[in-house]
């Protein structure tokens, strides 16, 4: 029943999204077209909400007459994972994505501002129509099975995790909102008006999406860290890359929107970035879902889906980029600016971020290009990305400490350094201290030394600027605190986001410099030592839990003879799926994580020893990585608060 309803409302969604697209194009609707569009947006959202609820309901009651439920669920599954399982598969997650895009569409139609609202909603209608047709025609989650199987195949056990339950919705809240950037850009180019107001109206939507995407990426890597048992948090996997690329482009879009709003500068550039942000996000989707790339994230891949998606991409972005190439030169830019100025700094920031994005895209696609053009098969991995990413990231860290403090239009580096002689000295000292410290710790020059130095350089430059603004030490503490309160929220947003980036760089550097791994065969009763921790394998047990069999190893972790924790890593066999996973157990301390994975029993080794293969990882500063992601996202939310606050003020006037 629910499934039938779900299918019917999807058709409603198709019709209403088409109406939203079509209303302003038909002259006979003129005058009423905006009302009609708002109405369509409402129906569209209601339809998709209903469809999604129907899918969740089918999962809860384990309706195996649905192919999707049969393939991805099982009656024995815990209720929570039955629900989250509904978007833990291709069809369900596409429905969720459509729901989120249509959600943004609805909220924009109700709350959004713009002089070109009709055109923006028209483009949004086209996007929604495209995505909903993709769901209906190639990834229908309500596809039937006959005869009805008695039981389901079960959810991929790796996906039975709370991190996964939250990860895709967060990511989609990011990607989905970028559709508005695209629509704004098309509308602005269409009427040749990309200016201050355009940037002001678009900015909150990009901010909210960007903040969600930041959290989504963080959550994804948190899930990978805990669940995949490799002891790492970023693998340069195509799927991860395809979430990082839109983040980088969106970050540069956010920066260029500030320039456009404040200085009327870079209109063409901003409109291009707005198109690119959504484009890169959808291309990522395409790469992952079409089976063009192979990745650790296995999605069911079907070539027809790929073709449909590619056609959709070609229509949307072919149209937008053609429009761009026709209109870009007629957009009016503001006054001139010198290279050494805030504008120049932001432009440089944009170029660097796009370079990062480009190198990732190249690394991800290089194997495909080579295969199509030469017929050779290669794989591009971590070494490439590390080599390419590091120097650009270094430059970003270095310039990030200067750019934000330059004046608009024109500034003088010599003047800035004179004015900031003392504040500049502090970061420089920190830079040297960090550089020297890690040089000494690693017993020679490694790239960790400049990385840590530059991260501290960025961090202390921010602190130096704050203390300069609130006249710390040159006036009374009380006055300074009052000044601190008076700083605009937008400044706080910038500070938070940049501190987050600096902390992320610091934590990743320290983590890579001081992490330790050990892989060995262990028998119960044996001891080993890693990074000053003593790890004892106490016993192993076999047992059956909810829907899997588990071999649990019991390990004690101690330091200097004092027991700190008992860890119980598991190696699980999921009965229904017949697959096995390793479940790491992690001892979290504020600074260091101790991470143990137990594998299969191995009988024969070269030394003729038997035991369980055990992997132990010591991961310092892991928590700081997650914390910095949160701080970066917080920056976005603070900027959003300011935006909403300002808007309230203007309304009152």
């Amino acid at each position: 029943m629910a499934a039938n309803l779900g299918e019917i409302v999807l058709i409603f969604a198709l019709l209403s999204s088409f109406l939203q697209f079509y209303a302003p194009l038909n002259k006979s609707f003129s005058g009423r077209s905006l009302i009609l569009q708002k109405f369509s947006a409402k129906i569209l959202l209601i339809s998709l909400l209903t469809a999604f609820s129907c899918l969740i309901y089918s999962y809860i009651i384990s309706d195996f007459s649905l192919a999707n439920v049969y393939r991805n669920s099982h009656s024995f599954k815990p209720l929570l994972y039955k629900i989250t399982g509904s978007w833990g598969n291709h069809e369900g997650s596409m429905l969720l994505f459509a729901l989120i895009i249509c959600g943004y569409n609805f909220f924009y139609s109700e709350l959004g501002r713009s002089e070109e609202k009709k055109i923006i909603l028209c483009v949004q209608g086209a996007i929604c129509f495209g995505i909903v047709s993709y769901v209906v025609f190639t990834s229908n989650p309500f596809e039937r099975l006959f005869p009805v199987p008695e039981t389901g195949l079960g959810l991929n056990p790796l996906l039975q995790d709370i991190g996964l339950a939250m990860h895709p919705p967060m990511l989609y809240l990011g990607y989905g909102g970028f559709s508005l950037a695209f629509s704004f850009s098309v509308a602005g180019l269409w009427v040749k008006k990309i200016d201050k107001n355009w940037a002001r109206d678009l900015r909150p939507w990009v901010l909210i999406s960007w903040s969600f995407l930041t959290m989504g990426i963080g959550l994804g890597s948190w899930w990978a860290y805990r669940e995949l048992g490799w002891g790492g948090f970023w693998f340069w996997d195509p799927v991860e890359n395809s979430s990082l690329m839109p983040w980088l482009v969106a970050t540069s879009l956010l920066h260029s929107l500030v320039v456009l709003e404040k200085r009327q500068e870079f209109p063409a550039w901003a409109s291009f970035l707005a198109i690119l942000t959504f484009c890169v996000g959808l291309v990522g989707f395409f790469l992952v879902r079409s089976g063009v790339l192979t990745s650790v994230h296995s999605f069911a891949s079907d070539p027809y889906r790929g073709i449909f998606m590619l056609i959709l991409l070609a229509i949307l972005f072919g149209f937008a980029l053609t429009l761009y190439s026709l209109r870009a030169s007629s957009l009016k830019a503001g006054g001139n600016f010198a290279f050494v100025s805030r504008e120049g700094g932001i432009l440089l920031n944009n170029v660097l971020l796009l370079t990062l994005c480009g190198t990732i895209l190249l690394g991800t696609l290089y194997p495909i290009f080579l295969e199509v053009l030469v017929g050779e098969r290669v794989s591009v991995g971590k070494p490439y990305f590390n080599v390419i990413f590091t120097p650009v990231a270094f430059l970003l860290l270095f310039l990030g400490a200067i750019g934000p403090y330059l004046k608009w239009k024109k500034d003088d580096l010599a003047k800035l350094s004179k004015k900031r002689a003392i504040p500049l000295l502090i970061p420089l000292l920190f830079f040297i201290a960090a550089f020297a410290g890690i040089w000494w710790a690693k017993g020679g020059f490694t790239l960790y030394a400049p990385a840590l130095g530059l991260a501290f350089w960025l961090l202390t430059a921010i602190i130096a600027d704050i203390s300069d603004r609130i006249k710390l030490f040159s006036t009374s503490i009380k006055k300074s605190i009052n000044k601190l309160k008076d700083l605009p929220l937008s400044y706080y947003a910038m500070v938070f986001a940049h501190i987050g980036v600096a902390l992320l760089a610091i934590s990743i550097t320290l983590l890579s410099a001081f992490e330790e791994d050990k892989e060995l065969l262990m028998k119960a009763g044996e001891k080993t030592e890693l990074a000053g921790y003593e790890i004892t394998f106490l016993e192993s047990k076999l047992g059956q839990k909810e829907d899997y069999l588990a071999r649990t190893g019991k390990f004690s972790v101690s330091r200097n003879g004092k027991e700190l924790a008992i860890l119980l890593p598991e190696s699980r066999i999921y009965i229904v799926q017949g697959s096995s996973t390793t479940e790491a157990d992690i001892y979290y301390t504020p600074i260091t994580d101790i991470y143990i994975v137990i594998g299969d029993k191995a009988y024969e080794t070269r030394e003729g020893k038997e035991g369980f293969s055990v992997r132990i990882y010591v991961r310092p500063f892991m928590n700081l990585v997650w914390l910095s992601c949160l701080i970066i996202a917080a920056g976005g939310f603070i900027a959003l608060t300011e935006n909403i606050k300002n808007r309230g003020k203007k309304k009152k006037k």
Binding site: L153, A268, F272, L276, C279, F286, S290, G291, V292, P303, G306, I307, L310, L313, A314, F317, G318, L321, T322, Y324, S325, A328, S329, I368, F369, E371, V372, L373, Q577, G578, S579
Partner: protein, 174 residues
């Protein structure tokens, strides 16, 4: 801004789409079904039978008629998916199973429960035949012609469409 830089993104996007389209189409027209073994004899292997008391399975079986080799295992979920189609195909040509990294007990239960489409099943605990055939994963299916040469490879579960559109045209005499 010069004219070129304004059009540049569009050109780049067209090139990008073209390459991806090329890749998708080559994917569709059987790119991934290629195998260096096509047109060659079945590589030599010899496996004990997975069912105690049955004859061994080796590469000398495949001559004189069309036949199929299917790599499967009781632990493989997609194999369960293609099983009913194998039952159908077994009425047309003999299917030889290669049971990969399996337990005899599990296999017996699997066959008892779902039925046995195989003429013979070789028990490939160490992946001897699987490696010789260059198999990428279970399930995978090969079609062999009357001369004992491999004429078709299909990785992944086969379904009614594959049987109708890919296998049948190849095994009906022209």
């Amino acid at each position: 801004m010069t004219r070129f830089w304004v059009i540049f993104p569009l050109l780049l996007f067209i090139a990008f789409t073209a390459v991806l389209a090329a890749r998708l189409v080559s994917h569709n027209t059987g790119y991934f079904k290629q195998s260096p073994l096509i047109g060659k004899d079945v590589p030599s292997f010899s496996l004990p039978s997975a069912i105690d008391g049955d004859e061994n399975l080796d590469n000398n079986e495949f001559k004189g008629r069309f036949s199929a080799i299917n790599i499967f295992a009781s632990w493989c979920i997609s194999c369960r998916y293609e099983h009913e189609h194998l039952m159908a195909l077994s009425k047309i040509i003999p299917i030889y199973g290669i049971d990969w990294k399996d337990e005899k007990e599990d296999l017996k239960q699997w066959l008892d429960r779902w039925g046995n489409p195989y003429k013979k099943i070789g028990f490939d605990k160490n992946g001897e035949a699987v490696i010789a055939l260059g198999v990428t994963g279970a399930p995978e299916t090969f079609i062999i012609n009357e001369e004992g040469k491999i004429i078709f490879r299909y990785p992944g579960p086969i379904d009614a469409d594959v049987i109708k559109n890919e296998i049948m045209p190849r095994i009906t005499t022209k």
